[in-house]
């Protein structure tokens, strides 16, 4: 039995607050201070930023398109339907199906991770196991829309290997988390 009782608290409306803007303004302030103290180096720093910006703009456009694609085809409501459907099933095939859905669900889910916590708590309340929840969370590491950026920096072979290894280990992660939390042997 799972002893933890998550608080069903409504939160996360998709807005990130002003933290990001404060951070941006602090960096701008740093640039202004630098411009006064050492204009030459400030210009060099801005040139470095600009070349980085030019480098990633095409990838950012691609990411927006891919994120839109996933938002459209795999909305959270659909994902919930798939996972809750698997609750309480013990037969081999159904169990494997639930694992596959947890992996794919984690991969295709978009937006900040904390927005998914209330949804996952609700799933667990509905009977979805801790191992599946942890596996779902671990697979948030695999972001298909962001893969072009990873390929750009680290190459295709690296991206493929890391993605596959991460997905495999997500299952081990889920099993281990469940074993420790529930203190029971899987199966």
């Amino acid at each position: 039995m799972n002893k933890t009782k998550p608080r069903q608290k409504k939160q996360g409306n998709g807005k990130q607050g002003n933290g990001g803007w404060y951070f941006f303004l602090i960096v701008i302030a740093l640039y202004i201070i630098l411009l006064i103290l050492n204009p030459g180096k400030a210009v060099l720093s801005f040139k470095s930023f600009f070349s980085l910006l030019i480098k990633i703009i095409p990838t950012l456009v691609l990411i927006i398109l891919l994120m839109g694609f996933f938002n459209y085809f795999v909305p959270p409501k659909k994902l919930r339907k798939w996972l809750v459907h698997e609750r309480g099933t013990n037969s081999g095939i159904k169990r494997i199906k639930a694992w596959v859905i947890a992996i794919i669900g984690g991969v295709v889910s978009s937006g900040p991770i904390y927005l998914w916590y209330p949804f996952l708590a609700e799933l667990r309340k509905s009977g979805v196991r801790n191992s599946l929840i942890a596996t779902f969370l671990y697979n948030r590491a695999v972001k298909i829309p962001l893969l072009p950026m990873m390929i750009m920096y680290f190459g295709l072979a690296y991206t493929i290997v890391l993605t596959i290894v991460t997905m495999i280990f997500s299952v081990f992660n889920g099993l281990l988390v469940e074993r420790i939390i529930d203190k029971k042997v899987f199966g």
């Binding site: 933890t4 009782k5 998550p6 608080r7 608290k9 939160q11 998709g14 807005k15 990130q16 990001g20 951070f23 941006f24 960096v27 740093l30 630098l34 180096k41 060099l44 720093s45 801005f46 470095s48 930023f49 600009f50 980085l52 910006l53 990633i56 950012l60 990411i63 927006i64 398109l65 994120m67 839109g68 694609f69 938002n71 459209y72 978009s110 937006g111 991770i113 904390y114 916590y117 209330p118 996952l120 708590a121 671990y138 948030r140 590491a141 962001l146 950026m149 990873m150 750009m152 920096y153 680290f154 690296y158 290997v161 890391l162 290894v165 280990f169 992660n173 988390v177 420790i180 939390i181």
Partner: protein
């Protein structure tokens, strides 16, 4: 007008939603890129070698700790990781850094503990911290073989 609204629904609306969420991330992304510009100009390259030593085991641990502490969009970790790679930091350490960035998330621990339970959140984070090192080692090992 209504027909026009209807055509906006569906894929175009989903792309607009994605663009909006990307727009929300812009100050963070812009700030990080501006910081990288500063770091590239001001921080001597020798600093990286002082943070990341020549010891692969120590480096992978350092990358794991850094990735666990720092937070934000995974794109930021790719940009930082890519920059670190050009500075000569090992792929092993960078992989641990990237994996820990997205799987550990110490910053999100309070939210995760509150909603999914303290025990679940702490256990998951500790295991994910260890797994980042294992995944980095296996990935680099496979890449060395192929």
């Amino acid at each position: 007008m209504q027909e026009q609204r209807k055509t906006l629904r569906g894929p175009s609306q989903a792309v607009l939603k994605a663009a909006k969420s990307m727009y929300n991330m812009l100050p963070i992304l812009g700030g990080v890129m501006l910081l990288i510009g500063l770091v590239n100009t001001w921080v001597p390259k020798t600093l990286y070698t002082s943070i990341f030593s020549k010891n692969p085991l120590l480096d992978v641990f350092t990358g794991d700790v850094l990735g666990s502490i720092l937070a934000g969009n995974p794109i930021t970790s790719y940009i930082l990781g890519g920059e670190l790679l050009t500075q000569g930091v090992s792929l092993l350490a960078i992989t641990a850094f990237i994996v820990a960035w997205v799987t550990v998330g110490i910053v999100q621990l309070p939210a995760e503990a509150l909603i999914l339970g303290k025990r679940f959140a702490i256990t998951r984070i500790i295991i994910s911290f260890g797994f980042a090192i294992i995944i980095a080692m296996i990935t680099v090992l496979i890449l060395g073989i192929i």
